[in-house]
């Protein structure tokens, strides 16, 4: 491995970490969206009952 | 003055409870002695004395961990912890009592283990003994607090070593250094600095760890 490849490896790792982090945040957003939809469903159903 | 009276009462209670229960001190003694014997087989022929000092400190830290894992057991049976927290005394006195009692048992176990070490492996001079005592104070002070934190958790036997081992790294450096190095004063200074900083920090934060409101 030459010096340049090590530099690429170092920055590459940082880049991958940030991407993985963004992916985790995206997964959380999806879950939050599903939770919100569920709550909306509950409210709507409650709206129809009264 | 009141504070000292509370500390005295709590320390006497810890010593009496432990001497009556008769399970931590004998266990610590046998544990440290068997570790030393195991080290004998673990050290191949050619290794110098320094390795022995290093392993001595591993034995000291793990013996302390054994004692600290049981530190708050008496308080958890019958829920006595609540009674102590409700008492009008300053809650840090509870920590001081427990630290002094645990320190006493650790020193008692070492009173047997260190001569055995000198017999088995290598000599220990006055400075090394001072290093052992200073490190004992540090690990009991921080350990009592960490044990109180872990006590409220689920896997407390697993949690305590994880919490304590990184914190005990400076103690091991100081301890081994005071035994091995040509100019050991610096290491005693490191241990004293550690004790000063972390004993005060533990003393001040104990109340927050055991109360909710």
């Amino acid at each position: 491995m030459t010096g340049g490849e090590y530099v690429a490896a170092a920055y590459g790792v940082v880049f991958v970490f940030v991407l993985v982090y963004v992916a985790i945040i995206a997964a959380k957003l999806v879950r939050l969206q599903r939770d919100t939809a569920e709550l909306l469903e509950i409210v709507r159903r409650r709206g129809e009952d009264t | 003055m009141r504070y000292l009276a509370d500390v005295a009462a709590l320390t006497r209670k810890d010593l009496r409870v432990e001497l009556r229960a008769q399970d931590t001190l004998p266990a610590m003694l046998l544990f440290v002695l068997s570790m030393l014997v195991v080290f004998h087989f673990a050290l191949p022929e050619g290794t110098g004395e320094d390795a022995a000092y290093g392993l001595l400190w591993v034995a000291i830290v793990f013996t302390a961990l054994l004692g600290l894992a049981r530190a708050w057991i008496p308080e958890q049976e019958h829920g006595v912890f609540d009674a102590l927290v409700l008492a009008p005394c300053d809650r840090s006195a509870i920590w001081v009592g427990k630290t002094v009692a645990t320190l006493a048992f650790l020193v008692a176990a070492q009173a047997v283990a260190l001569p055995a070490f000198v017999l088995f492996f290598a000599p220990l001079d006055g400075v090394a003994l001072a290093g052992v005592l200073l490190a004992d104070v540090g690990i009991c002070a921080v350990g009592s607090l960490m044990a109180a934190m872990a006590a409220a958790g689920r896997a407390r036997e697993l949690l305590l070593p994880l919490l304590l081992l990184p914190l005990s790294m400076p103690l091991i450096v100081g301890g081994v250094g005071s035994a091995v190095s040509t100019e050991p004063e610096r290491y005693l200074l490191l241990l004293a600095l550690y004790d000063g900083i972390f004993a005060v920090l533990s003393w001040a934060s104990f109340e927050y760890v055991v109360t909710e409101s």
Binding site: M1, G3, G4, Y6, V7, A10, Y11, V13, V14, F17, V18, Y21, I25, L32, D35, T36, E38, L39, I42, V43, R46 | D50, V142, L145, M149, A150, A152, G153, A155, R156, L158, L159, L162, L163, L165, P166, L167, M169, P170, V173, G174, V176, G177, V180, S181, R186, Y187, L190, L193, Y194, I197, F198, L201, S205, Y208, V209, V210, T211, E212, S213
Partner: protein, 230 residues
Amino acid sequence: MSSPFSRIRGLPSLAAFAAGLMGLALLLSFFIAPEDGDQGISQRIFYIHVPIALTAYFCFGLGAWKALLLLWRGGERYDLESYVAIHQGTIFGSLTLITGAIWAKASWGVWWTWDSNQLVLFLTLFLFYCAYFMLRFSLPEGPRRARSSAVYALFGVALIPVSFLAIRLAEDFIHPTTFTRDGPQMTGTMFTAFCVSWAAVTLLAYVLYRVELVGKRLHIDLRELREALE
């Protein structure tokens, strides 16, 4: 008086600014800064490794500061902020160890060296803060977990100087360093490249911290909403 920074308060604009700064940093550290005399191109890892390490310290410091606020002033929000800050600190901590190992391999041909006080100190702190999460997962949710975590976070910050001193003293008897690597002498442009990337990485960490905080607060609000609806 609306200085340029007052407009940066919002998270999206903060993120945009961070991205811009990071771009500038990469540009500087790759193209503008001259190549290092003896280490050659591998010295450029320095521009990312050291800023990440300093950012990890920043996150641990932020976590400890929030912990102090929790113990001193009380308030549920500080527990979450301290937790997220230390979470960021651990992520950047692991990045520091990885990029540090790569740098060690490039400069000295070994993936790990006990000679670099920086790396050894970081390993200790990294283990310490991993135990922070073990503590949080072990204790039931509530004021006592918040306070214990806060106290533990404060211990972490106190551990940094003491460990650094211990590691420096440990050098004498564990094994004297075979080669000393004093701080790299930096010419003008190198130093600016370093400072810009330091600022960029710190800002990146702060943005990720804020993003995660928003996510966690949203989760808590939703849980409360759900309980209110039941």
